[in-house]
Structures are given as C-alpha cells and as structure tokens.
Amino acid sequence: MLKKPKSILIIILFSVLFLSPQVFADGKKIDLSSYKGKVVVIDFWASWCVPCRKSFPWLNKMQNNLKTKGLIILGVNVDENSKDAKNFLDKYPANFSIIFDPQGKHAEYYKIIGMPSSLVFDRQGNLVEQHVGFKEKYIKEYENTINKILAK
C-alpha cells in the first residue's frame, strides 16, 4: 500500500515527460506588423511536398496580379535542411517572400494540421481563413476567398 503513491508519481512523471513536447511547446509567431493594411497569405510548404510544388505557379500568379491590390504572400519553408529548399527554389522559383522555418517553430505556433497549409490574414492582421492541401479543383474557391478579403 505504501508503494502505491510512489508508483502513481512515477507514472505522472513519465506521462509529463512524453506529453511535454505537445503541451509545453508554443512555437513562434510570425510578426506581421510591417504588413498592416495588407492582406497576408502565409503558405507553409516543403521541398518534399508534391502539392506544394504544384501550388507555386498559382501562388506566383496571385502575387503578381494582386500585388497592387495589397496582397502579400509569405512562403514559410519547413524543410529541416534549408539547403533542400534552396535547391527546390532554383528549379521552381518563387516571386513571393520566403521565410525559413527549419525547426518548425512557426508551424507549431499556427498548429498546422497538414501540408501544405494556407492562412489568410485580413488588413487588420486577424486570421480569417485557413485551408489545408492544394487541389486544382479548389483554385476558384481559394481565389474567391482572397478577393473577398481584399475587397474589405
């Protein structure tokens, strides 16, 4: 009987040790203060993610066409080795800004649930739309969402 509380303590200790990465890590927010007044799309991508590669031409197009309307696209790369990302960009260039997040701290902060992930912030800096994955059949939807937020 005396041993019981000790066992429970050990179990709690182990559980805390294993659960801690999930519970205690917060990640790092991306500072959007310099983009006030703009609509910001944060897009999480990686060199090993095939749909991400497919989304690049579309992201480039959106950035080009809607820059004057105040659209800023930030591509956040989560490759653990940023060199892989740079090799990828040599083959598939981006005309939007790239942020390197090799330790996934930004991904952690925004609790990304799949790759790729897109987060849309309105001109006041509030997160208003989010989607996971990139599929051609939803391109119209993605564009409508962005245009709607740009119009506000």
Binding site: K3, F18, A46, W48, C49, E80
Partner: protein, 70 residues
C-alpha cells in the same frame, strides 16, 4: 513490485504511442525508401519467385506512409 513494473511499462507504451509526428516533420518519411510499397518491380519479382518455389506466400506489405500531403 510486479504491479509497479507493469504500470511503468504501460505508461512508457502510452508515451511511445503519443509520440505524434507533425505534418511538417514528415520530410524523411516522404522519401520513397521510407515508404512501404515504393520498392518497385523487384519486390513483385521476388514475390513471384518465392511463391513458385516455396509452399507459403502472401502476407507482404501494403503501400503506406509517405508525406501525408493533401
């Protein structure tokens, strides 16, 4: 003592199961060599040979794993 060991093992097991790989951490798992079912025809060939020359067959891997994208 036995009960203590058993409870510790269970919590370790649970701890191991709760190790959850995040979507952005799957770069390594996305490689073909880390994916089940991506080995190509050499696996099919070997399976055929063993089926023909041995009495038992089947029970090989499903295609699974990968980057988990989309």
């Amino acid at each position: 003592m036995k009960m203590k060991l058993f409870l510790i093992s269970i919590s370790l097991l649970l701890g191991a199961c709760s190790s959850n790989v995040k979507p952005w951490e799957r770069g390594n798992l996305a490689r073909a060599e880390m994916t089940f079912g991506a080995e190509g025809l050499i696996n099919t060939i070997n399976d055929h040979v063993y089926f023909s020359k041995e009495a038992t067959s089947g029970g090989s891997s499903f295609a699974a794993g990968g980057c988990g994208c989309n």
